[in-house]
């Protein structure tokens, strides 16, 4: 009986480990494949082996030096847009969710439902209108336009999740501070902000990643090549020369993914807290 149970346990663990290893390979393989492809000489998608016969950094060099691919410029553009839209977007989202979580006022529930519904509208449906609006204000082909649009859109996506998180911060803390004479701003800055670090991290990261991967809207607004973001550039690379220069695409993909993955790695703990606390509270 005892031996039987032990054996069953060993079998269970062995099977679990095998499945885990298979899953790990499936999770890592594509990332590894593109990483290795970026070091492979030549241009083609096809290669006989996973690990290239010899390694080269030529594609990375080409990315940053070639006059056709202004990858360095695109990279700087994207970084700039990402940082600013992240800052403004996070502030706006926090303000909205703080107001909705802590204050009771007329039409509050309507506001929340409206936010939810508006978030459901397919984003690019509004592109033509936004395009014309930006044209009206002479903002086409500027980074400011992208920053405004990304930041203005941030409260739509993040408010309800952030509000769910703020709801979990005990109200008694606010009240204690209020008795001690803190104003609404004081409570926000001294109590809410420090306690919602995981949430802020989560929001900041999603906001930051947005401009790196959004190509539809960026493509519409940014007309000249010097103003492009990396996403537009990469999309153009894949679309205009289908597979003819795959290794270069791979190098670009690595250049975009690595910083984001490092950020994820550093912020993993906070991210998990923010994600679960904000979303799972039914």
């Amino acid at each position: 009986m005892n031996i039987g149970r032990k054996l069953a346990n060993v079998v269970r663990l062995a099977v679990s480990y095998i499945i885990l290893i298979v899953l790990a390979v499936a999770a890592l393989y594509p990332a590894l494949w593109i990483l290795l492809a970026s070091f492979r000489p030549g241009k083609s998608l096809y290669s006989k082996t996973l690990i290239p016969e010899h390694f080269t950094l030529a594609h990375y060099k080409e990315l940053f030096t070639s006059p056709v691919y202004m990858f360095g410029t695109w990279y700087a553009n994207t970084l700039k847009i990402a940082v600013f839209s992240m800052l403004i977007g996070v502030v706006l989202t926090l303000l909205t969710s703080y107001a909705l979580s802590r204050f009771r006022f007329k039409s509050r529930k309507t506001t929340m439902s409206t936010l939810l519904i508006l978030g459901m509208f397919p984003g690019f449906m509004s592109m033509i209108a936004i395009y014309l609006l930006l044209k009206e204000f002479n903002l086409l082909d500027t980074h400011l336009a992208l920053i405004i649009v990304y930041a203005a859109g941030a409260p739509l996506g993040g408010t309800l999740i952030a509000k769910g998180f703020l709801d979990t911060i005990p109200r008694s803390l606010d009240e204690a501070a209020r008795i001690d004479g803190a104003s609404n701003f004081g409570i926000f800055a001294r109590i809410i902000l420090p306690l919602s670090r995981p949430m802020i991290t989560y929001m900041a990261l999603t906001q930051f990643v947005g401009p790196w991967v959004d190509f539809i809207f960026a493509k519409l607004v940014l007309r000249t090549k010097e103003n492009w973001t990396v996403a537009v550039g990469m999309w153009d690379m894949v679309n205009s020369q289908q597979n003819t220069n795959f290794t270069l695409f791979a190098a670009g993909a690595v250049m975009i993914s690595v910083p984001i993955m490092i950020l994820f790695g550093f912020l993993q703990r906070m991210l998990v807290d923010g994600l679960t606390a904000g979303a799972s509270k039914g």
């Binding site: 346990n9 269970r12 663990l13 679990s16 480990y17 885990l20 790990a24 499936a26 999770a27 594509p30 998608l45 706006l92 989202t93 303000l95 107001a99 802590r102 006022f105 529930k109 506001t111 439902s113 936010l115 519904i117 508006l118 459901m120 397919p122 690019f124 449906m125 509004s126 033509i128 209108a129 936004i130 014309l132 609006l133 009206e136 930041a151 203005a152 859109g153 104003s183 790196w212 991967v213 959004d214 190509f215 996403a231 990469m234 894949v238 597979n243 695409f249 993909a253 993914s257 984001i260 993955m261 790695g265 993993q268 998990v272 807290d273 994600l275 679960t276 979303a279 509270k281 039914g282």
Partner: protein, 437 residues
């Protein structure tokens, strides 16, 4: 005795801010005065044209005209630009109307206070009052303006488009004018054979896709989370980090990457199938296999998020429940069915439903991977894996059938929004939020 309040209110009605000045609130009054002056300057030229524009959508198309005997192309009205300019003006107008109403109400209230023998608030006191009691509303103004102009205005615009004939080839400005046509677009979409066949076909696949992709990622995530969380598995943190790698790779990159991996001719997946002696599969080119591929790839992208979420929930399930079950002699399977599954489902149900709604609109997963292809000859401008979202994108971006795209967008929006609103209103965090603490 009603003199102060009526007088102040009437003065404010005549010109914003006069009532406030009458009430001796000079700074507030001047601010209101300035607002009205500025808006008068803005509206004097624009308001009439805005009303004209929204009703007629312009009345003169581009045409040849003889100027001093030489034929010349004269640009006509650009209906779409006129529509959106009118819309923007009318929205500003609505804001000013609201400000005007608030200004009258404020003058009336302050007047009433004066009648009751109170001093009217100084400017400083007003600011303090707003910060203390109207904090939430004034906080919401800034994000509210952003949402108004970058979300609500475009939505109204798109809804209006569905009721026009803004479509190639006959009604594309600036060469031609656009007109209001009422519900004709919807009628064509739902009942005209050529359109309705595509519409119902794409709609069916959209729903199938949303159900399959949500179920696979959710239960996939649940299984992986349970697998890692088993008693006796070592290096839990290590496994978790490896398994969330797909989540950390930016979605656009991973989808473009998958497109190459599954490439029928040169992609490594078919290459490996070849090593095992199997023929290559038409991953992206056969209608059936393309659907399988998008589901598989979506699992790769989506499972890590579900896994993280469920792992978080698993840690909140009280240990003693399991211990009690063990005392009663429950097997592992029973423990899973009676404790784990209900607990996880209960606390992630809202997320699950949001994911479902999100998948209906999952543009990237389809567009970046297959582009909606392979082409389906029976469809109007749609491929076999096209969702309603990608189809409407193609209709606007490639075909210029803007009114049709807007109509589809509205229908899609009603489905998704109705669904999630119903769900959200039922969740605890909406109904009983004040009871949590």
């Amino acid at each position: 005795m009603q003199r102060h309040r009526t007088r102040a209110a009437i003065l404010s009605t005549i010109f914003m801010g006069l009532g406030q000045i009458y009430n001796r609130q000079f700074i507030k009054g001047l601010i209101f005065l300035a607002v009205e002056a500025l808006s008068l300057i803005y509206f004097v030229n624009k308001l009439g044209r805005a009303f004209w524009g929204i009703f007629t959508l312009g009345d003169s198309p581009s045409r040849l005209e003889k100027v001093k005997g030489i034929a010349k192309m004269v640009p006509g009205d650009h209906s779409i630009v006129i529509l959106i300019e009118s819309l923007i003006t009318l929205m500003f107008f609505a804001i000013i109307l609201i400000a005007w109403y608030m200004n009258i109400r404020d003058a009336y209230k302050t007047g009433a206070e004066r009648e009751a023998g109170l001093e009217s608030n100084t400017f400083k006191q007003t600011v303090r009052y707003i910060l203390d009691y109207k904090f939430a509303q004034s906080f919401l103004i800034l994000p509210g303006m952003g949402i108004l102009f970058f979300t609500i205005m475009p939505i109204i615009f798109m809804i209006m488009l569905a009721f026009t004939n803004f479509a190639a080839p006959d009604h594309i400005p600036p060469a031609k004018l656009v007109d209001w046509v009422g519900f004709e677009t919807f009628r064509n979409l739902l009942f005209l054979k050529s359109w309705s066949h595509t519409f119902y076909g794409v709609l069916t696949w959209t729903i199938v896709w949303a159900v399959l992709s949500t179920v696979t990622t959710y239960f996939g995530g649940l299984l992986v989370a349970l697998l890692v969380n088993q008693r006796g598995i070592r290096f839990k943190g290590f496994w978790r980090i490896i398994l969330i790698v797909p989540y950390a790779v930016p979605q656009m990159i991973s989808l473009l990457l998958m497109r190459n991996l599954f490439n029928g001719q040169f992609g490594p997946i078919n290459q490996y199938l070849g090593y095992f002696g199997m023929g290559s599969l038409p991953w992206l080119t056969d209608p059936f296999w393309a659907k399988v591929t998008v589901i598989i790839v979506n699992m790769w992208v989506g499972i890590p998020v579900s896994m993280l979420l469920i792992m978080g929930v698993l840690t909140t399930i009280p240990r003693d429940m399991y211990e009690a079950a063990e005392v009663d002699g429950a097997t592992n399977y029973q423990k899973f069915r009676i404790i784990t599954l209900p607990m996880v489902l209960f606390s992630t149900a809202p997320t699950l439903i949001m994911q479902f709604a999100g998948n209906i609109n999952n543009f990237n997963a389809i567009y970046l991977l297959t582009g909606g292809n392979p082409v389906n000859g029976n469809y109007q401008y749609a491929g076999s894996t096209d969702l309603l979202v990608t189809w409407l994108y193609k209709l606007t971006a490639d075909q210029n059938k803007n009114n049709m795209a807007s109509a589809i967008g509205i229908i899609l929006f009603i489905i998704v929004a109705g669904f999630s609103l119903y769900n959200y209103r039922r969740t605890k965090s909406f109904k009983e939020e004040d009871m949590i603490q």
